[in-house]
Amino acid sequence: MFKKILVANRGEIALRVMRTCREMGIETVAVFSEVDRSAPHVLFADEAYLIGAAPSSESYLKYDKILDVAKSSACDAIHPGYGFLSENTDFAKLVTAAGIVFIGPPAEAIKTMGDKTMARQSMLQTEVPVVPGTEDPIEDISKARSVAEKIGFPVLIKAAGGGGGKGMRIVNSAEEFEDAVGKAQRESQSAFGDGRVYIEKYLEEPHHIEFQILADQFGNIIHLNERECSIQRRYQKVIEESPSPFIDEALREKMGEAAVETARSCNYVGAGTVEFLVDKYKNFYFLEMNTRLQVEHPVTEMITGTDLVAEQILIAAGEPLTLKQDDVKTTGHAVECRIYAEDAAHDFAPSTGQIVLLQIPDGAGTRFDGAIRQGMEITPYYDPMLGKLICWSKDRNSALNRCERALREFYIGGIETTIQFCRSVIRHPAFREGSYDTHFYSLHKEELLAELASSSDEVLLVAGGTLFQHTEQQKHRAHHDSSKQSSKSKWLDSRAERNHR
C-alpha cells in the first residue's frame, strides 16, 4: 500500500481525498497557491508546499512543479481530485513515467473519453446507444435533410465550436429545416468563428442520469447504480439524487450493463462515471464518460455504503475489487445540494468576499463535504463551489424532509450562496413528486426566484426588530469605545448590556 499521497487539488475535494488517506494510514501532501496559505486543505495535510501564484495556470495547473514536489517529498502516488489536472493526458503520462502512481485511469482512456467526437466514434463500435445524428458537419443541405428525416423530427442543430447551449436550434419539421441550418451556420460563424454545424436527435423531456463504475486492473468492472442529475442551471448540476425517481429496475439493469460495457470498451481502470441522456419514452443514449471522481460521488457512497476514494486508492495500488456486481446492495435514498458562492437572484453571478458567519448543519443522516471556515475569504480565482450538503434517509420523502431541515440550519453570512435556491427547489411540488427533467429550472425559474425574493410579514417583523436592536447595540459599542478612558464607562456598558437582554 502507498505510504504518502500528493493531492493535486484544493478546496473540498482535496480535503475529501485526504480524509480517506488518513483513515487508511497514508500520509498526505498538499500543494497550494499564494492565496491559499491558510486554506483548509493546507491545514489538514501532513505536509504542504507552495507551488505558485493565485491564478490556477500558475499553480494548480503547473504539473511540472507539482511533479517536482511529489518526487522531492517522496510520494508514491498522486490523486488529482476533479477539475484541474484530473483529465489531463500529459500529466497522467508524466506521473507514470516518473515512477509515481497516478490515481486514475490510464492516459489512453482519458484521451479517448476526453474528446467528444472520439468518444462517440468509439461508442459506435459497441452496443451502447448514442444519440442519433450526423458524424460530419453539414455540407449538402438535401443530404442533411434526408438524415434529419431518417432520425425523425424534432432534431437539434448544434454548432461544432459551441457549448453551453450557444449555437443550438430545435427544428420541428422538414419545412423549417433549410432555413434553420442557414441561421445556425451564420450564428455560430459570428459567435465562435466556426460555421460548422451538426444534426442530432432532439430528445424530449430529457433526464441526465449517470452511472458510477469501478474497474480494477484485472478486468473486473462493476457499477454502483445511477445518480439523477437533471436539476441544472447554466448546464451545471445543482442537485443530484439516487435512486432516480424516473427509472425502474429493468431500465436500471440495462443502463448499468451499458455503463460497464462503456468502461470495458476503453480499457478503463479506476472509478469513473458514464453519463446518459434518457428521453421521456425511456430511451437512453450515451452522452460522455468522466474519467475521474465526480463532485456528486457522495450520493452513491451514502446508498451503497462504499468509500469511493478508498476504492480508487486500492485499485491504483493493484488490489482486485472486493465487490462483485451481485454484492452491490443499496439502502435508502440520498440527495446532494451543491452550495455555490453565487447569487441565484442575479443569474448565479459569482459572489466573493469574507464569510463573516458560518453555521454548518449536522444531525442524523446529514453530511457536509466542504472546505470553508468563518473568517475565510472567498477569492475570485477558483471554482465558486463552497461544498456539498448530502442527506440520507430510508426513503425519498424522508430524505427530502431531512434535506430541507438541514438547509434551514445552514447559514453562510457575508456572501451570497445557493442555499436558499436549493431549498426552494427541494420544496417545489414538481421536484417533490419526482416529475422533473433537465428543463426544470427554465420551466420553473419564475416561481423559484419569486420565492427567493419574498418574505412573510412575520419574517419582516423579526428581521426588522433584530436589525433595530443590532444597530442600537452597535451605537452603544461605538459610544463605549470612544469613552473607554472614562471611569464611568464600565458601569455604563454593563447597564447597556443588561438593558439589551
Binding site: P350, L407, L460, L461, G465, Q469
Partner: protein
C-alpha cells in the same frame, strides 16, 4: 418611534417601543413583544411572542439578514429618513444610474466599446472573468459612453467603476 421596514418586495410601517430592555413592535395589524439575545457576534436568538427564531446579521451595516435559514434583504428607515425620502432625497441616486460598477472582483477580458459609442439598454459592455466564469455586463441605461476607466487585461476590485454612460 415610527419606522418603515422595507424588504421582500413590500414594506411594513411599525412602531418600535424600547423600554426597560424590552422591545415591542406594533403595526396596524398586530402587536408583538420581543426578547432578543445575542448568542454569538452577529447571531441573535429572537423570541417574538415566544415563537423562536435564529437571526443572523451578515454584514457590518445590517441590511442582509437571515431568519431561520431564509435570507432577507432589509432596509430600516427611521422617521428622519422617511421624511428625507418624502422630500425627494432618493432622486439623487437616479443621476448615478449610468455608472457601471463591477459587482465582483475579476479580470476584464473584453471591452466592446470605445468612448463616444452610443449604447442601448441591455447591450453588452464588457466581460469580466471571475471563478472560471465569464460574466457579461450589460448597459443599465441607453446613452453615450463618456468614460471607460479600465483596459482589457486589467484586474479590478469589487465596486470599481468601469464605464460611465450619459
Amino acid at each position: 418611534m415610527r419606522y418603515e421596514i422595507i424588504g421582500g418586495g413590500k414594506s411594513v410601517e411599525v412602531d418600535f417601543l424600547a423600554e426597560d430592555g424590552k422591545l415591542e413592535i406594533s403595526t396596524d395589524k398586530r402587536r408583538a413583544s420581543f426578547d432578543i439575545v445575542s448568542v454569538q457576534p452577529g447571531v441573535y436568538s429572537v423570541l417574538m411572542d415566544n415563537r423562536s427564531f435564529v437571526v443572523g446579521v451578515g454584514t457590518r451595516n445590517g441590511q442582509k439578514l437571515n431568519v431561520n435559514g431564509t435570507p432577507v434583504s432589509l432596509e430600516l428607515l427611521d422617521a428622519v429618513h422617511l421624511h428625507l425620502r418624502d422630500l425627494g432625497w432618493e432622486s439623487m441616486e437616479e443621476s448615478r444610474a449610468g455608472l457601471v460598477n463591477t459587482q465582483i472582483p475579476g479580470l476584464i477580458t473584453r471591452i466592446f466599446h470605445v468612448r463616444g459609442d452610443e449604447v442601448s439598454e441591455g447591450e453588452p459592455l464588457f466581460l469580466i472573468e471571475a471563478m472560471k466564469m465569464e460574466n457579461e455586463i450589460r448597459a443599465p441605461i441607453s446613452g453615450t459612453i463618456i468614460k471607460i476607466s479600465v483596459q482589457e487585461g486589467q484586474t479590478v476590485d469589487k465596486g470599481t467603476t468601469i464605464v460611465e454612460i450619459e
